[in-house]
């Protein structure tokens, strides 16, 4: 009887510890997210510079991203070569809209991976919306102590199935990440750029190294952020196909 009680007590303690760790991991992830966007509905201007395998500049692209509550995002492409193209993401459903057409094209989660910085890289602003987190442990990240989190996709349509995320132990700012696709391949490695490394308040960009394409580098810069809720119609693919003015 005593041994049974001991076993029950041990099981309770283990369960409580697991719950506490899960709660800790979720809180840590939300803390890391605060460096990316501060509110549910936000407009972010993004610039992406890609380099060739030899390190020389390749392309520059500009995007406007509207990230809204309920896993809804709209990406407007601003560069001359892509002007007028849009990608709408409503939870696990995605559409590509080409200018001068009234045909929103349904695209698959895999098609979001196309491009130097996939649409998912540009539009995903909050990990805590899309992933469940687990604390792997405390590690050293160069000079600083950091916490290693393992993120697992909580939804079907996310760009990366699994993410290894390292955040600062003291301030919980994102430091780096390993991004894995569905097949468990390491697709990209991300290094996050903060406004003030000694006392960070905002993530100003990230550097993505493509592990599936000769280590090409993509530099993502968040040029500006502002709180903005867009009209519901903007989140209807058929409305976007009208090529309306979205400003």
């Amino acid at each position: 009887m005593t041994s049974l009680l001991r076993a029950l007590a041990a099981a309770c303690l283990a369960l409580c510890a697991w719950h506490a760790q899960a709660a800790d991991a979720t809180a840590l992830l939300k803390a890391a997210d605060r460096y990316r966007v501060a509110s549910d509905d936000v407009q972010v201007e993004v610039q992406i510079d890609t380099t060739k395998s030899d390190g020389s500049p390749d392309k520059q692209r500009r995007y406007t991203t509207f990230s809204q509550s309920g896993h809804r995002s709209l990406v407007l492409m601003r560069s001359p070569a892509e002007r007028g193209q849009k990608v709408l993401m409503l939870s696990d459903d995605f559409w590509l809209l080409m200018p001068s057409s009234q045909r929103p094209l349904r695209i698959t989660p895999t098609q979001k991976l196309l491009g130097d910085a996939s649409t998912g890289d540009v539009a995903t602003m909050r990990w805590s919306d899309d992933y469940t987190a687990e604390v792997v442990g405390e590690e050293r990240c160069g000079e600083v102590a950091c916490i290693h989190l393992a993120l697992t996709a909580a939804r079907r349509g996310v760009t990366y199935q699994r993410i290894g995320l390292w955040i600062g132990a003291a301030r919980h700012e994102p430091l780096r990440a390993d991004l894995y696709v569905q097949s468990e391949k390491l697709a990209k490695q991300a290094r996050f750029v903060m406004d003030r490394p000694e006392a960070p308040t905002t993530m100003t960009g990230m550097v993505l190294t493509d592990q599936l394409a000769n280590g090409r580098e993509t530099r993502v810069q968040y040029l500006s952020r502002k709180t903005r809720s867009v009209p519901e119609a903007w989140l209807n693919p058929m409305y976007l196909a009208r090529n309306p003015e979205l400003e």
């Binding site: 060739k52 395998s53 390749d58 392309k59 520059q60 001359p80 070569a81 002007r83 007028g84 696990d92 459903d93 995605f94 200018p99 001068s100 057409s101 009234q102 045909r103 929103p104 094209l105 349904r106 695209i107 698959t108 989660p109 895999t110 098609q111 991976l113 196309l114 079907r156 349509g157 696709v181 569905q182 097949s183 391949k185 697709a187 599936l212 394409a213 000769n214 090409r216 519901e232 119609a233 209807n236 693919p237 058929m238 409305y239 009208r242 090529n243 309306p244 003015e245």
Partner: protein, 344 residues
């Protein structure tokens, strides 16, 4: 499109360019074609602009053809005004209205009726339309009155209803033509897995190209792998194309070839496959159109490269088949092309 309208559109574009906040852009393309019937070269500029409620796009081109010399072309692709009132969105003017879900064939593209499988993407010329649309959270309705144009010599009224149901888009289409009468259609595009999208489209028309009680149907899929390889596969049936019996009758074959440019499909049954790979700005692709009725085929190999603002495309399309097949009898059996496009 007459010169006056072109000048009006050009004026609007210039006005929009003068506005600091205007949405203005375009592209310049140089293209060289080498085909069975001779060589052609084209220099064209596409301009797009928006000024307040008015959107305009136009094409200015100069073409040189080996046996016909030089020609100039100016065309207004779009020139329309759009606005919103009482929960409805309205548009009036010349506008591109592309519908349906397929790639190689679109039975329900009942307004624009664009030609498919062009070697390079071209800015379409819109139709003269009055359009009213309403949008809900997961649904949309579109009503279009279409004026006659050179490619569609009848007044027509078309409607489209769209509804999102989970991972599928459902469409319903109706068209009433002044001369060709009614047609009804439906289409679906469904994301079945993380990599696969499946689509289908069916239409039944009272009359198309002088043929009556015409069924048209398409089924296909797109697949995209993590390695950035993409595959499109489609099969379709077009009841508006000449029948096997018509092609078998020597008295009608010459007439069928003279109509060929107006036909969406030369034979009723078609199978289409396209494979492409995207890698570091490069996109090689290979597509194959097979007509099982006479085993004729069209194969296109292409290579595209997208830089910061410049895009380069080269490719070769070959048409062929057994003796007596429509592709073997075509006056053109190959087209090679090279194009450079600069976007601004």
């Amino acid at each position: 499109m007459n010169r006056a309208t072109t000048l009006i559109a050009a004026g609007l574009l210039a006005a929009s360019a003068a506005q600091a906040e205007a949405d203005f852009g375009g592209q310049v393309r140089l293209r060289v074609d080498d085909q069975t019937t001779g060589r052609n070269a084209t220099a064209e500029a596409e301009l797009r602009g928006r000024w307040r409620a008015v959107t305009a796009s136009g094409t200015l081109a100069h073409a040189w053809t080996e046996h016909a010399g030089d020609t100039d072309l100016s065309r207004v692709n779009e020139l329309y005004a759009a606005g919103e009132a009482a929960g409805w969105s309205f548009a009036a003017g010349r506008r591109i209205v592309s519908w349906d879900v397929g790639y190689g064939f679109r039975p329900n593209d009942v307004v624009q009726q664009e030609r498919r499988r062009t070697l390079l993407p071209v800015l379409l010329q819109g139709k003269a339309v009055l359009q009213a649309e309403r949008f809900g959270t997961d649904e949309a309705w579109s009503l279009v009155a279409v004026d006659p144009t050179s490619s569609s010599k009848e007044h027509a009224f078309a409607a489209r209803a769209w509804r999102r149901v989970g991972s599928a888009d459902w469409h319903a289409f109706a068209r009433q033509g002044e001369d060709t009468g009614p047609s009804l259609g439906t289409a679906v595009s469904w994301v079945a897995t993380d990599a696969t999208e499946i689509h289908a489209s069916v239409r039944y028309a009272h009359e198309v190209n002088g043929r009556f009680h015409v069924p048209q149907a398409l089924a296909g899929f797109t697949w995209t792998g993590e390695n950035k390889v993409g595959v499109i596969g489609e099969v379709w049936y077009d009841g508006s194309a000449p029948s096997d019996a018509e092609w078998a009758d020597p008295r009608s074959v010459r007439g069928l070839f003279t109509q060929a440019s107006a036909l969406q499909n030369l034979r009723r049954r078609s199978v289409f496959v396209r494979v492409s790979w995207t890698h570091e700005g490069w996109e090689p692709s290979l597509d194959h159109l097979w007509l099982p009725s006479d085993r004729s085929h069209t194969t296109t190999a292409a290579l595209g490269w997208q830089g910061d603002r410049v895009r380069v495309d080269v490719g070769l399309r070959r048409l062929g088949g057994p003796a007596g097949s429509v592709m073997a009898a075509s006056p053109i059996n190959h087209i090679g092309y090279a194009a450079a496009t600069w976007s601004f």
